[in-house]
């Protein structure tokens, strides 16, 4: 039996992209407005009892110390309790998990979970490439974000014969899905040939194997399962969630063909929800790089270990495939504004379970959707949230 103590009654995001014209505060206000507007029976913003903000790198918008508690004022909720969550790339999904626990605790009835990230206010070199020290701050200088995942591609190719074409097929699929998602940063198709002809960024990953740096914000409104029907006839429940950590640095991994944090987090979420991978109708997973999605679908149990490449190439994860993955376009096409990423993935799951995803709607058979992030210096943390429309 799923947990189902908390429901999502509103969700929304702003169009992701290089939003030079919008401030961090304006992006936050846009996402909050979108989430409020999605509440079927309407919700006055004064109903919000508490705010949880996910921002991973305040440094990217130049206000290292205060990202988070500036949000209530910016969105017309000054005075409301607010806490910032930072947990690497899963910051948004962990903020959601914490928001659900806050609601379930009975302390706050209606909680806004909002993710906001300004990735482009600083130059590319100063942004995620900054300092080229994604690993230990004193060691491994020259480590940029792709270095955190490319070693897994090298080893996956070595052990399982995964090919560059298989990696490319993930980018092709997610860019296609992105053309169907009006919120996606990229709105154009790419071909396998284009991916393979794109410049090497960090071998074996090429430019189109990598997600862009994107500004964005997304928000969801949580309330108790009991009160959900005050706001909608189509609530989506939090069926379960799981978090797991792993040794944080790349040289400490027990394996280079999988991310153990993902497997552990998924196991906990499935146990809590009382379901398994086969029960999922779709998944929004962390595809910061093409190899990451291949690792994810194996680690989450959608395909056998080592088979993620062929499964992607053969369309098993397409919109009409056995297990549709990243119908929103994923991080690769929709973008990866870190704190907002998880919330935006959950918004996509919410739309899909409510069958409101227009052209990219997948078949909902069992009523379950899975959302996943993994990140940190060496994928040392993962969060999995499972949503259901089944009461």
């Amino acid at each position: 039996m799923s947990w189902n103590k908390v429901a999502v009654v509103g969700a929304g995001l702003i169009k992701f992209g290089e939003l030079f014209e919008q401030s961090y505060e304006q992006m936050a206000a846009g996402a909050f407005t979108a989430a409020l507007g999605a509440v079927d029976r309407g919700m006055d913003r004064s109903a919000v009892d508490a705010v949880i903000v996910a921002t991973q790198r305040g440094s990217l918008w130049g206000q290292e110390g205060i990202g988070g508690n500036t949000v209530p004022s910016a969105i017309g909720l000054s005075g409301v309790p607010c806490t910032r969550v930072e947990n690497a790339c899963p910051s948004g999904s962990d903020a959601f998990r914490i928001g659900a626990m806050v609601v379930a605790s009975g302390v706050h009835d209606i909680v806004l979970v909002i993710g906001v990230e300004k990735m482009r206010d600083k130059s590319t070199q100063e942004g995620l490439l900054a300092r080229a020290a994604a690993g230990h701050p004193l060691y491994n200088r020259g480590e940029t974000a792709p270095v955190l995942f490319a070693p897994f591609a090298t080893r996956h190719m070595h052990e399982f014969g995964t090919t560059p074409e298989m990696l490319a097929s993930v980018a092709v699929k997610n860019h296609h899905n992105g053309t169907l998602d009006p919120y996606a940063h990229f709105q154009s198709e790419v071909t396998v040939e284009q991916v393979l002809a794109s410049p090497q960024v960090c071998s074996p990953l090429r430019l189109l194997d990598c997600c862009p740096q994107t500004d964005g914000a997304a928000a969801v409104l949580l309330t108790t399962a009991e009160r959900a029907h005050e706001f909608t006839d189509k609530p989506v429940f939090v069926a379960g969630f799981g978090v797991a950590t792993d040794h944080p640095y790349l040289h400490e991994k027990s394996t280079y063909v999988g991310l153990p944090a993902t497997t552990m987090a998924a196991g906990r979420a499935f146990d809590m929800a009382g379901v398994g991978a086969a029960d999922m109708d779709m998944a929004e997973v962390h595809d910061c790089f093409t190899i990451t999605e291949i690792l994810d679908i194996e680690d989450l149990g959608f395909v056998e270990k080592g088979k993620g490449g062929p499964a992607s190439l053969e369309g098993e994860t397409a919109l009409d495939g056995r297990i549709p993955v990243n119908p929103s376009g994923g991080l690769l096409a929709k973008g990866h504004p870190i704190g907002a990423t998880g919330i935006a993935q959950l918004t996509e799951c919410w739309w899909q379970l409510r069958e409101e995803a227009d052209e990219r709607q997948v078949a909902i058979r069992n009523g379950y959707a899975l959302q996943h992030n993994v990140g940190g210096r060496g994928s040392g943390v993962s969060v999995v949230n499972i949503l259901t429309r089944n009461a």
Binding site: R131, R141, R155
Partner: protein
């Protein structure tokens, strides 16, 4: 005064070679036929010193912990003011109760370091002395020095002759020494200056200052002992004419010409690099029928000159000749300007997150320079580095001992990074290495290996300068592909690099 023996030697040359003709072409002058050795962006006087020292210790069969003093002579240490000697000691794993001194300020520093170590041993203040001489000077743009300034390092392990080799006669011993001082300004670098300046009339100084000074110190150590004439001389040769003239005046051949031709004027390293060449079997050779061969070396600079003679009784361990320094890679003049920091892009450099003067480096420097891990006494797992692992990554235990990590291993997985902000240059391999002692680390690799690197490759680690951060050198280890397949045992300095090449 105890007699002092040479137990072993080591040498090192940087990776790049610059043709004087390329320099000449840039300035519209002749340039000449010379080739000089130049540091790549990740090499400097300290990394060269490290390689020579590691090999000298290995050749002498002396464990780092047995070294009682480190004397380092370099015209221009990596920190103008700062912990240069302590950093070098840290990279070598020397005992914290370390005697010795950093000598700098002119190319004469190499001979001053040798003399100081000799005196400490002779007086009984030290048991085993490690003398390292190195230089990688930056010549001023458009100066004659651009076509002659090289880079390199040499190291010698010295100990009292009595008892140093378990009863056997030592391979070589120091014999005589003489120094002269004259207050003449030659090459110099002012406070805050980035490059060494040649202000003198080279011909005038050669004829009127250096030639008589060097001949005088040479004659002072060569004379008075007719049974053992000096059979070969070694010395620095900044203009390609001086050394030959001094040797002719002293009446013995010049043994240092091959190393001078290969590397250029290596400054403070030149007298000992030349001496090592003279100690190599193909150089001055070993004891003949009439007793030991005697070789001499002369260093000068900063208005000082010192000559030292050495008796060679048998081949000196580690003296492998100029060929062992490797051919290097030909670099363009523009590439050399970049690696020397004389050609820099506009715009603000992107600072690293952690300032090198910060507490994180205080905690991390010893384990970074010495390449240490924390070995779990319960399960044997080695967690690296120790300062961020209060518990074992294998079993969670906290009974850990700090160990020095193996310097060879195999590639578990890797990437080649093509997109990084300055100062990093693509292609930069980043490699997860399974070390032969079971530890696992992630380090940078060599651009030269980028195209062919593969999972399972055997690699050897060596010390490099990762970055020059806020003007401060940051050092770490890099993994180089071994072309011997990883079967044989290798040292960790120049020898390992040669195997890697």
């Amino acid at each position: 005064m105890k007699p002092v023996a040479v137990l072993g030697v080591g040498t090192a040359a940087p990776s790049l070679r610059l043709a004087a003709a390329d320099v000449g072409a840039a300035w519209g002058s002749g340039g000449g036929r010379a080739t000089v050795a130049v540091c790549d962006a990740d090499e400097d006087t300290l990394t060269l010193a490290w390689r020579a020292a590691v090999d000298a210790l290995a050749a002498a069969g002396v464990a780092p912990a047995a070294v009682s003093g480190l004397w380092w002579g370099t015209s221009r240490p990596p920190f103008a003011e700062g912990p240069s000697l302590a950093f070098l000691a840290g990279t070598l794993g020397l005992d914290r109760a370390l005697d010795g001194a950093l000598v700098s300020g002119s190319p004469h520093a190499g001979m001053e370091a040798l003399a100081a170590a000799w005196d400490a041993l002779a007086a009984g203040h030290a048991d085993v002395a490690l003398v390292v001489v190195s230089d990688a000077l930056v010549p001023g743009l458009g100066t004659a020095g651009e076509s002659s300034t090289g880079a390199g390092a040499a190291a010698v392990v010295l100990a009292p002759a009595e008892g140093a080799t378990n009863g056997a006669s030592p391979p070589a011993r120091l014999v005589r020494r003489a120094t002269r001082t004259v207050p003449a300004l030659d090459r110099y670098r002012p406070d805050g200056g980035a490059a060494t300046e040649d202000v003198y009339d080279g011909r005038l100084f050669r004829e009127e200052v250096f030639l008589p000074l060097m001949a005088e110190v040479g004659a002072a150590v060569a004379g008075g002992d007719g049974n053992h004439p000096v059979t070969a001389w070694a010395m620095a040769d900044p203009d390609g004419k001086l050394a030959g003239a001094v040797a002719r005046r002293l009446g013995s051949p010049l043994a240092s010409a091959p190393v001078q031709a290969a590397l250029g004027d290596t400054g403070a390293a030149a007298p000992l690099l030349g001496l090592v060449e003279a100690l190599a079997p193909a150089g001055a050779g070993t004891a003949g029928a009439d007793g030991p061969r005697r070789v001499g070396t002369i260093g000068f600079g900063g208005g000082r000159a010192t000559a030292v003679t050495v008796d060679v009784l048998r081949p000196v361990p580690g003296a492998a000749g100029v060929a062992s320094l490797g051919p290097g890679r030909r670099a363009s003049y523009v590439e050399v300007l970049r690696t020397r920091g004389q050609l820099e892009p506009m715009g603000e450099p992107i600072a690293m997150g952690v300032p090198p003067g910060g507490a994180a480096f205080v905690r991390g420097n010893v384990e970074m320079l010495g390449l240490e891990g924390a070995r779990c006494r319960a399960c044997g797992t080695i967690s690296t580095p120790p300062s961020i692992h209060p518990t074992c990554v294998g079993c969670g235990g906290s009974d850990l001992e700090v160990v020095s990590l193996a310097r060879t291993g195999r590639v578990q997985t890797f990437v080649v990074n093509q997109t990084m902000p300055p100062p990093f240059q693509a292609p930069l391999p980043l490699i997860v290495v399974d070390l032969d002692d079971g530890a696992r680390i992630m380090v940078q690799g060599s651009p030269a290996d980028a195209a062919e690197l593969a999972v399972g490759d055997a690699v050897a680690l060596s010390l490099h300068r990762y970055a020059l951060e806020r003007g401060v050198p940051v050092y770490g280890y890099k993994a180089f592909r071994r072309h011997d397949g990883g079967g044989g045992d290798v040292g960790t300095g120049a020898a390992a690099q040669e195997v890697a090449r």
